[in-house]
């Protein structure tokens, strides 16, 4: 009995050790993502699975950081243990820990077919002349509108080239406060990154091009005009104010059929599709005859600077940019023009406005790229926007406050 144990036990140990070693032979790539919705997680996993099938012996470990993406990524980088691959949009904050990709892009330029990717999207990952990420998806902003509510109120559907005056007139007709139905929604605490599109559309911006001047820029008459317009919409009841003590979102109201028109992006579309609302999509309205601009939210994929296997990580990044992988990502817009055309997206009336907004969105640079202290300045700007929405006006005074409170960050 004892003899058998002496033989069997080491044999089992050896077998598990051997088996463990075989598993350890698999090369592991850690990939951090920010997806929270089940569909986007599934899409991501589908691409990862395809890559693993094409590359036996490689395991891609998807790490779902979800809403805590920045916190977890910061903690991982601070501990010197960042994931090999990660989604990325905030290049200024993280580029020092990322690997520049220019050499690899140049080497594999033919394979990547860079002409198929709009340059505006490639430039999203450019810091100080070096590229730190390959684009994986993007969205622009549009207006979602409830066709049934518009028809019931006798309001014509928005056409390309419409203005804020048109939207306000429609919202005034559509708002029925006693039935808790609203024409439009104004967010008192918007993401300033997205909100800047309204400033751009009125010929204003948050900070000067060289990132050094706020006074006269952030509180210019055009800027105050934008905020005053939104404040006035709340005052007259054309729009409902969101995020003042309430955490109901615009898309919740839209999906419930309580909101006639809403500014949104691709991340709203999936939920709205599911809700069954009969909706249409229109481009953003313009301020008079000034050219309308939209924010481009481009996400990219980056490689950590000190990753163990740069070539394998780059192989994954290249795979993510192939037309097949791009076509799988149905939760945002394709970075490749060929995929957009071949899939018929550009002809779809619910998607065409997104591409229309991309076509006119050049010449604008997001503020967070212009000044390293923008994060702190943005806090004061957010306060000014919130104050104007609560005050339902008085934008210039609040913007002046934001400018003076931010002066110490410009030094």
């Amino acid at each position: 009995m004892k003899r058998r144990t002496v033989i069997i036990a080491p044999a089992i140990l050896a077998a598990t050790f051997w088996g463990g070693m075989t598993f350890a032979q698999d090369k592991v790539l850690r990939f951090a993502t920010w997806n929270t919705s089940p569909e986007s997680i599934a899409i991501n996993q589908a691409i990862v699975t395809k890559f693993e099938e094409a590359n036996p012996g490689v395991k891609v470990q998807v790490e779902l950081y979800g809403d805590g993406f920045d916190d977890k990524l910061t903690a991982a980088m601070g501990a010197g243990n960042p994931p090999d691959l990660m989604y990325m949009w905030n290049y200024p904050a993280y580029y020092q820990s990322l690997m520049p990709l220019d050499d690899m892009i140049a080497r594999d330029a033919a394979e990547l077919n860079l002409a198929d990717i709009p340059s505006g999207l490639m430039n999203g990952g450019l810091i100080d002349g070096k590229t730190y990420g390959m684009p994986v998806g993007f969205t622009t902003h549009v207006i979602f509108y409830n066709k049934d509510l518009l028809a019931a109120a006798g309001v014509a559907e928005p056409q390309a080239g419409w203005t804020w005056a048109d939207l306000r007139a429609a919202a005034a007709t559509l708002s029925k406060p006693d039935e808790q139905i609203f024409g439009f929604a104004v967010d008192a605490k918007p993401d300033p990154f997205d909100f800047e599109e309204f400033f751009w559309s009125n010929g204003a911006q948050y900070i000067s091009d060289d990132g050094k001047v706020l006074d006269g820029v952030m509180n210019s008459p055009e800027a105050a005009e934008v905020l005053d317009m939104f404040g006035d919409m709340i005052k007259t009841g054309e729009a409902v104010a969101l995020n003042i003590g309430d955490q109901t979102s615009g898309s919740d109201l839209f999906k419930a059929g309580k909101l006639a028109m809403m500014e949104g992006a691709m991340w709203n579309k999936g939920g709205i599709d599911e809700s069954g609302v009969n909706y249409g999509v229109a481009v953003l309205p313009a301020f008079g005859d000034k050219p309308v601009k939209s924010t481009i939210n481009a996400s990219g994929i980056s490689i950590a600077k000190d990753t163990a296997d740069p070539d394998l990580a780059w192989a994954f990044v290249k795979f993510f940019s192939t037309p097949e992988a791009v076509a799988l990502r149905t939760n945002d817009l394709p970075i490749r023009t060929s995929v957009a055309e071949s899939s018929g997206m550009m002809a779809d009336p619910k998607l065409a406005p997104f591409f229309a907004m991309l076509a006119v969105a050049d010449g604008t640079v997001p503020s967070f790229l212009k000044n390293p202290e923008w994060g702190r300045i943005q806090e004061n700007l957010s306060l000014a926007i919130e104050a104007t929405m609560i005050d339902q006006g008085n934008a210039k005074a609040h913007l002046d406050e934001a400018v003076s409170a931010s002066a110490r960050f410009l030094k």
Binding site: D70, D71, G78, Q96, K189, I244, G245, G375, I390
Partner: protein, 312 residues
């Protein structure tokens, strides 16, 4: 000669316990050094550096502290908000806990059930608590405004009005008074009944009994809960972070939240560490102040004030 060789050394057992006690306490000491003392010293070091999460770390000496105290209006604003919150929360916390403890101390049926019911909210996780309160406080659909509407008054925008948001957070924080209540209840139950009997027989009215018997006998517990309430008020973070996100208009932007955002939003670890140490100094100063004043109002059982005891 033979004596010197055969002289016996004293037995080990008699000399002392040796290394054994150290081995027994080493797990705790190791944990303390690795997880408490070590990070404490590390954060103190960090506070003298410009320490971004990603990038170069440069030594700046006392610059963080200087900036904080002279150039940062947000520091004073957050401190002001926190002090205002503490000023409302601490007295309310102690008063309501005391009231509930007195009620639970009565000889009525069902005190066990109510004790559990009052203690339960304090063990709920902060996130669940915030979710419940955000439903209660919602201006349009909330329970509180509905009940107020039923009784005739118009409900305010609890979380959206800069004036009311701090009050809303105070009330939500009061749900955590279960622990304080239990401590005071234990204190109440440990007061000797003979004192009350003697007072009743001497014809002392109930309110005087409360002032001259209950409060002095309870004062050590009150001191403890006072200090712990101050500490937890200054460290308030979860509720503000989740319920109001520091808004509206920064009216609930607590100091702990400013530290959190400086560290994890603006990635400025050195500055956040400096602010944490300033918070530590402030809380320490307040606690010492309370301890100092305690000799005037805290009465420990067995202690004799002034002349007494064996002296004539």
């Amino acid at each position: 000669m033979a004596d010197a060789v055969t002289a016996r050394r004293p037995s080990r057992r008699r000399r002392g316990a040796g290394i054994t006690p150290w081995l027994f306490i080493s797990p705790w000491i190791l944990g303390f050094v690795c997880f408490t003392l070590g990070p404490l010293i590390f954060s103190l070091t960090m506070s003298f550096y410009d320490w971004p999460v990603v990038g170069e770390r440069t030594f700046v000496g006392a610059d963080n502290y200087r900036t904080m105290l002279t150039e940062d209006p947000q520091f004073w604003h957050s401190l002001g908000v926190t002090v205002k919150f503490a000023a409302i929360f601490v007295p309310l916390n102690i008063a309501v806990s005391f009231l509930l403890a007195v009620l639970l101390n009565t000889k009525v049926r069902g005190t066990a059930f109510f004790r559990t019911a009052f203690y339960l909210p304090s063990v709920i996780s902060g996130v669940a608590l915030v979710t419940i309160w955000s439903w209660i406080y919602s201006q349009r659909y909330g329970l509180l405004n509905y009940l107020l509407g039923q009784s005739g008054t118009e409900g305010v925008n609890w979380l959206g009005d800069p004036g009311w948001a701090v009050v809303a957070i105070v009330v939500a924080s009061l749900w955590g008074l279960g622990g304080t209540m239990l401590i005071l209840l234990a204190g109440l139950q440990s007061i000797p009944k003979e004192l009350y009997e003697a007072a009743r027989m001497s014809g002392v009215p109930p309110w005087a009994q409360a002032i001259h018997i209950t409060l002095p006998m309870l004062s050590p517990m009150l001191l403890f809960t006072f200090i712990t309430s101050i500490i937890s008020a200054f460290q308030q973070l979860t509720i503000a972070l989740l319920l109001t996100e520091g808004g509206p208009l920064g009216s609930t932007y607590f100091f702990a939240m400013y530290i959190y955002e400086t560290a994890f939003r603006f990635h400025d670890m050195g500055y956040a560490a400096a602010m944490s140490w300033v918070m530590f100094v402030i809380i320490l100063a307040l606690s010492l102040l309370v301890m100092r004043s305690s000799s005037a109002w805290v009465h420990y059982e067995g202690e004799m004030k002034g002349k007494g005891g064996t002296d004539g």
